[in-house]
């Protein structure tokens, strides 16, 4: 018997058994590690962590103790997409443990797929009680918005004014407005065109009226309808073009906005990759629209938008975004002449405000009151900035946002740096959906680097030549030295 245990067969068997046991232990430990995912997002930008907005939404479900069930229909072969989705869903589950998800292959689980009317892959269905939402493209933004939609009881409507050369929401070209429209709809609003020449007033279901870069002024009866709408507590977003729509600018003056026939020139924008007529915005006022805003935005071909001082009665206005100090304004004549230097007679030095916001007390600015808006106002009526943000729903107030550039939200520039966020935050504030206002999920910030000749040379010579050469020369030296020693009989 003892000879058997000493034999090679017995030792080989013991060896194999030991290996199997060891393998089983590490597989079990790894299984436990996989089942209990713990991870750290070490990126500076936190790009693999839930955005504050998403966290806020999922916290609402947690507070209300509403379980969320997710059915994710992915083909088995779509492993990449599936893992990306799982990674995203895990981030929500980390916050709310009753956020549960299951993956199904629609080809293998046909009955379930038919039951849930799955006709394209991938499809993700979110279920909260009797309510369901389905998504075909899954990213943090769309998932959070779907969750917000599940919390909502009404769908708000955004109208785009048409008939005056405005940016077209149906136009998918670079000058179009389709990206903004799509993004608004992703934020759970419905959109519709509005031709005020055909209807006497702004529809009652209008949550926000958008006037995106009109090239001509609306008619008088259209102005009446708009003023009536704002006077009753409506929300208005206006993006302007330089040197155009003087009547519209005159109406906006009643809401606390002062615009002049100018265009902003900015030296700083060229350093960041833009041109002189595309000012970069890095200074924002503290306001719900610009809360936590740390990214720059670009306002191509913008006019200045200042706040009327003092504010008209019942109006509380503040300047929201300003250009850099190395900017200035020029008039149309200077622009056409091609001489864009600062002229103190015709222009003003930066920072130039290019976006402003105001709230209007409904009763203070009815159609009649609006007519008299240039009436005197006392200093007592002047609001503090914080008052604007502390607007209450009990006393319905009109909300107006005015931007000096219409192109900042056009297709070509919408996704440039903070432009999209600034626009969507404005929409959220106008719709009184402040809970949606936050910086959307972001990856790394842009940081263009153009190498100088020396930098390019150094980045080639040091890593590709000098450092490897040191090792190669050291190797050659050791080799030669060893060879010499061997010849001298110093080495065996």
């Amino acid at each position: 018997m003892s000879d058997f245990f000493k034999s090679r067969t017995a030792k080989g068997g013991g060896l194999a058994f030991g290996i199997i046991i060891f393998l089983a232990i590490i597989v079990a430990l790894q299984y436990i590690a996989v089942q209990n995912p713990k991870r750290w997002d070490v990126t500076n930008s936190g790009s693999h962590t839930l955005a504050p907005q998403s966290r806020q939404v999922i916290e609402t479900f947690k507070d209300k103790d509403l379980p969320v069930e997710v059915l994710a229909f992915y083909e088995t072969k779509d492993q990449r997409g599936r893992e990306h989705t799982q990674d995203l869903l895990d981030r929500y589950r980390d916050v709310w443990k009753n956020f549960t998800y299951t993956f199904y292959d629609p080809d293998r689980d046909r009955a379930l797929a038919l039951q849930n009317k799955i006709d394209s892959y991938p499809t993700v269905i979110l279920k909260v009680g009797p309510k369901t939402e389905r998504l075909n493209q899954l990213d943090e933004e769309s998932l959070t918005n779907a969750l917000t939609r599940l919390l909502r009881t009404e769908v708000k409507k955004v109208y785009f004014l048409k008939g005056h050369g405005e940016l077209d929401p149906a136009d998918t070209g670079v000058q179009g407005f389709s990206v903004a429209k799509d993004q608004i709809e992703k934020q759970n609003y419905t959109t519709s065109d509005l031709i005020l020449l055909e209807t006497p007033k702004v529809p009652d279901d209008c949550a926000i009226l958008v006037i995106a870069g009109p090239k001509t002024d609306p008619m008088d009866n259209e102005f009446s309808a708009i003023e009536d709408y704002v006077g009753k507590g409506g929300s208005l977003l206006v993006t302007l073009n330089p040197f155009k729509t003087p009547k519209l600018c005159e109406v906006l003056k009643k809401y606390g906005f002062e615009t002049t026939g100018d265009i902003v020139v900015d030296r700083m924008s060229q350093a960041l990759g833009g041109d002189y007529l595309m000012p970069v915005i890095t200074t924002y006022a503290q306001f719900p629209i610009t809360r936590n805003f740390t990214v720059a935005s670009f306002f191509p071909q913008t006019r200045s938008v200042r706040v009327v001082s003092p504010n008209p009665p019942g109006v509380q206005a503040i300047e929201l975004a300003k250009t850099s100090p190395v900017s200035w304004t020029i008039d149309e004549q200077q622009l056409n002449s091609g001489v864009a230097d600062f002229n103190e007679k015709t222009g003003k030095k930066g920072p130039i405000p290019v976006m402003a916001v105001s709230t209007i007390t409904a009763k203070a600015l009815g159609p009649k009151a609006a007519t008299d808006s240039n009436a005197k106002s006392s200093d007592k009526d002047q609001p503090q900035k914080s008052d604007v943000a502390n607007d209450t729903k009990t006393n319905k107030k009109g909300r107006v946002v005015v931007a000096g550039s219409s192109l900042f939200a056009a297709n070509r520039f919408f996704k440039l740096q903070g432009n999209g966020d600034l626009f969507l935050n404005s929409i959220s504030w106008l719709a009184e959906d402040e809970n949606l206002i936050a910086i959307r999920p972001k990856s790394e910030n842009a940081q263009p680097i153009v190498l100088t000749g020396n930098q390019s040379l150094i980045s080639f010579v040091i890593p590709v030549i000098i450092v490897p050469l040191i090792w190669i020369l050291a190797g050659v030296a050791v080799f030669v030295y060893r060879r010499k020693l061997a010849r001298a009989g110093g080495l065996d």
Partner: protein, 256 residues
């Protein structure tokens, strides 16, 4: 770990009195340096183009354009070069017959395996350490995501250590260095690409295959996410092949 230090010192001396370490480190640095320079030049070119079209400016930064592609390329270079570090660990001793001599020394098997393994890992660390010049150059040009850089290097080092453990085991079962290098490369490559087959299999098998794939594990590190299961995967992978190496050396004693 009896005699571990002596084995470690002997192996380090072996690496640095022969041309192997110099050649592997030199080649690695030339190729990695070239990729670094090429990616940096690409960033410069794209930044120039962005001056005319700012809409392409998003995601133009050192992290996305330089660091991530560079570490992905470095992982592939390591896949090719680590077998060169490990091929002679045991094979050479078996071929020359010094393994028997080694086994008669007052050194236990675990000390032998760990000494050889850690010596190869030290060469790997020296190799990776030399590429920190890239970080210094990048720091002079602008800010980059140090978190992504750190996690990517952690992933590379863990992967390199796993390949070294695998290579050490292969080297312990053959006395031919070329065969050891070829099998080590082939085996590492299999663990690298195995996830490609997951789409042809059933869901359970696909999940197992994906859990086994190195490529899937590295992805998180390169994104800047450190996951416990990814770290344990590499640690267990290394531990398993070190265990096999240990057992393989042990068999030398009773096989004679």
């Amino acid at each position: 770990m009896n005699g571990f230090v002596a084995i470690f010192r002997k192996e380090m001396a072996n690496f640095f009195v022969s041309p192997i370490a110099y050649a592997v480190i030199g080649i690695f640095l030339i190729i990695a340096g070239f990729f670094f320079w090429a990616n940096l030049s690409l960033l410069s070119l794209v930044s120039l183009q962005a001056a005319n079209d700012p809409s392409i400016m998003t995601r133009i930064n050192l992290t996305d354009v330089v660091i991530r592609p560079m570490v992905q390329n470095m992982s592939i270079i390591l896949l090719f070069l680590t077998p060169l570090l490990t091929m002679r660990l045991f094979s050479e001793e078996k071929k020359s017959g010094t393994i028997e001599l080694l086994l008669t020394y007052p050194v236990n098997d675990f000390g032998i395996v760990m000494g050889k393994f850690l010596a190869a890992v030290t060469v790997l660390l020296i190799m990776m350490g030399c590429t920190l010049t890239f970080a210094i150059i990048m720091a002079t040009l602008g800010s980059f995501d140090i978190g992504v850089f750190f996690s990517s290097y952690l992933g590379l080092i863990l992967m390199g250590a796993s390949f070294i453990a695998l290579g050490a085991f292969i080297s312990s079962v053959t006395e031919n260095q070329i065969v050891a290098a070829a099998i080590s490369f082939g085996a590492a490559l299999m663990f690298w690409i195995i996830s490609w087959t997951s789409s042809f299999t059933g869901p359970t098998m696909a999940a197992i295959i994906r859990q086994t794939s190195i490529l899937e594990r590295l992805d998180s590190f390169f994104k800047g996410v450190i996951t416990v299961s990814d770290v344990t995967y590499f640690l267990f992978f290394t531990a398993f092949f070190l265990f096999l190496s240990f057992r393989s050396v042990e068999t030398q004693r009773w096989r004679g």
